[in-house]
Symmetry: C2
Subunit: 195 residues, 2 copies
């Protein structure tokens, strides 16, 4: 690889921990401790990459996408909502739902977005921290489709390029901008390479 690594990739190399089962722990800056300066850079990067795209609203999914999406909301100046796990008692009667197979949790979760927050014809930017098999994105896409909203962009922090989610989402025709695409990672040596 000849190009210079961006600051997210550098951070993954420095602090990411590769674990058995294709797991990449980035708890020190992305999904337990949250580095807001890094999120600022990520938001600016997506702002640049999606320049000229119509974006009315940012949509993410709990939990790790929320912090990132809030910072993107500041940079783009549009509202932000998140899909919630639908085990809540205070569910709206009027919700869109989708079943999401969590890669990390190894279980099925139903997520929901109130119908009040997704409108027909609205242009959505989906934001999430990780993309592996694409299940969370498929859930968000399903709810957007139910609402008749349009997904004009998808911003992912870390894509696991060796799993099928990225290809699948690109094949569906969505503009997908992953800020770091992990090409390979080895739990034995800890070595990580980027696309």
């Amino acid at each position: 690889m000849n190009r210079e690594l961006n600051i997210l990739e550098q951070r993954i190399l420095k602090e990411g921990i590769v674990k058995e089962g294709n797991l990449l722990s980035v708890d020190t800056f992305l999904n337990q401790q949250m580095d807001i300066e890094l999120f600022d850079w990520m938001a600016e990067e997506w702002k640049h990459r999606f320049e000229g795209y119509p974006i009315d609203k940012i949509v993410t999914i709990e939990a790790s996408g929320i912090g990132i999406a809030c910072i993107v909301s500041i940079h783009l100046g549009v509202p932000v909502i998140f899909a919630k796990r639908a085990d809540h008692l205070n569910l709206d009667d009027e919700v869109y739902t989708a079943d999401v197979q969590s890669y990390t949790h190894k279980r099925m979760t139903t997520v929901m977005i109130s119908k009040r927050f997704l409108n027909e014809g609205e242009n959505l930017l989906l934001i999430d921290d990780f993309l592996a098999h694409g299940n969370a994105l498929k859930g968000l896409i399903s709810m957007a489709d139910q609402a008749g909203a349009k997904i004009t962009g998808i911003g992912i922090a870390v894509e696991k390029g060796f799993q099928e989610g990225g290809q699948l989402i690109r094949d569906m025709g969505y503009p997908l901008e992953s800020l770091a695409i992990v090409e390979s990672m080895d739990p034995a040596s800890g070595k990580i390479t980027f696309r």
Copy 2:
């Protein structure tokens, strides 16, 4: 009540929906759609109320506290971490855990914070969206205690003043600053009063 309502209280009056079972839905600005300008005001308010208090780190709990805590992190200029549900496969071996009875979910959840992110002697500001029975806060306090960290302040957006959590936390001696304390709310009339 003679005093002028603050902007969070005004927003609760305008958009909050009282439901059976002591539930208050504030999905339009706090815990599904997130109003970042409101979060900015909340962060500034806590910054003012906790002026002079030593704060090294902000700690919240997934999911609805995350967005608020990120904005507070920007305003206070200190790192932010969140306690995660401990059903994750990529758990660190070295974590603090606590069992939290969720009022909204009506079930017990184990949450965890990696030991790397809570240090002895560190001054913590706990942030969360709701305080009802205080179970989430008790979980965060337990993990802080396990680490030997000190809680110098607790910032809550909406406290249900008619439930016991606020009193319990104040009786434990923690400086608790709730930006809106709901004194009563009636699902039949929809009427909400503040302390």
